[in-house]
Symmetry: C2
Subunit: 243 residues, 2 copies
Amino acid sequence: MIDMIAFDADDTLWHSEVLYASTQARFRELLAPYRQGDNALQELYETEMRNLQTFGYGVKGFALSMIETAITLTGGRIRGDEIQQIIGFAKEMLSAPIQLLDGVEEAVQELSREHRLMIITKGDLFDQETKVARSGLVPYFDQVEIVSGKTAEVYRSLLEKHGLAPGRFVMVGNSLRSDILPVLELGGHAIHIPYEVKWAHEAADRPHETQARYAELEGVAELPAYVDKLRQRDLDDPLEVSD
Amino acid sequence: MIDMIAFDADDTLWHSEVLYASTQARFRELLAPYRQGDNALQELYETEMRNLQTFGYGVKGFALSMIETAITLTGGRIRGDEIQQIIGFAKEMLSAPIQLLDGVEEAVQELSREHRLMIITKGDLFDQETKVARSGLVPYFDQVEIVSGKTAEVYRSLLEKHGLAPGRFVMVGNSLRSDILPVLELGGHAIHIPYEVKWAHEAADRPHETQARYAELEGVAELPAYVDKLRQRDLDDPLEVSD
């Protein structure tokens, strides 16, 4: 009844947004002497959104957007050594140790005994590959797919590529916009595990709570039991979502 | 006898290194007022190589390395508006129109009638995807693989993934280091079509000219006839390479 359980990676398997948040805090501090600390994060977000269609997702584009924002907000007065600090922030993010979320290793290990698992993550190819490799989770996953964005179209082609029927596919992730809504749209199952820090860009309205193919869990530790329940019930029946 | 013909993309299907070269010329010019134009390119290359294991390949990492080099070479005196110009160079590179090499469309079209074709390219995922999409070549290719690097190990896993035997696989590309040597190492066929501009990092010694599974062609227009010849001969016999 379930042929594949796919996991988002950043903020689902391991911490990521905290790295962005702490870098944003340092960026804000860097601009404080220019009396621009207060505007820094709003302006940065707008720069990122403007640059998204040129740079795509990922740390390197984020770094270029920080530099651009710093130049704009300081009217070009930002100093070379300060821009070098921003590049340093990016390098630290790219080489930061992988910190798994609580309970991830246990849940993934348990699920891998009876299910095929895959990772579907978006961002910089090289960065995501090294994170997967460094996570120690590789042995539990049958497939790793790194994509530039997570639209319904992208999921559709991944399902096709791996010969998966949407009704027998489960996606687990922290982003309603990227992990949940597009998968529900295709007729797949989606399990939302919210993360402590949210990126504004990923915000979206929650699906109707009683939708049969959707659930929200508080933590990944609840996942194996939930998947068991999912497997045992008839997928055509509406699901009781405990919330 | 040939199950798949794979093409590198940058400088094999479309021009890429000329974009880097013209950006480097602009970078050098930008630093000339600081009396650092002469060192600029050597220093940039060294910065790129140092950053490769953090940034990987691609335009965004190249841009960050240019910024870092400009700060170092000017002792931090480079101005904000000049760094903004460097970011502008990167954006222009990322949105530049795709210019196919002479004869590519005809050769690819002709080969696609009797062969399965794929693209194997390295670099930024998002950038490479949009280039493939904008190239107009998508209808001729069965598969597109974007990888973070082109080692023998990467080719091995791609061949495995697509169920391809090395002896029935042909790789076509401009880089001895990335397209030719690792494929020959695995027992595959490799056809080298040198490009007019070379990136120092991709330099490598040419394979022995009489190696049966290797050929060098002057241009992609020669490819269909060469593939026909390859298909007709017994793969176990040494190949006469006309050079």
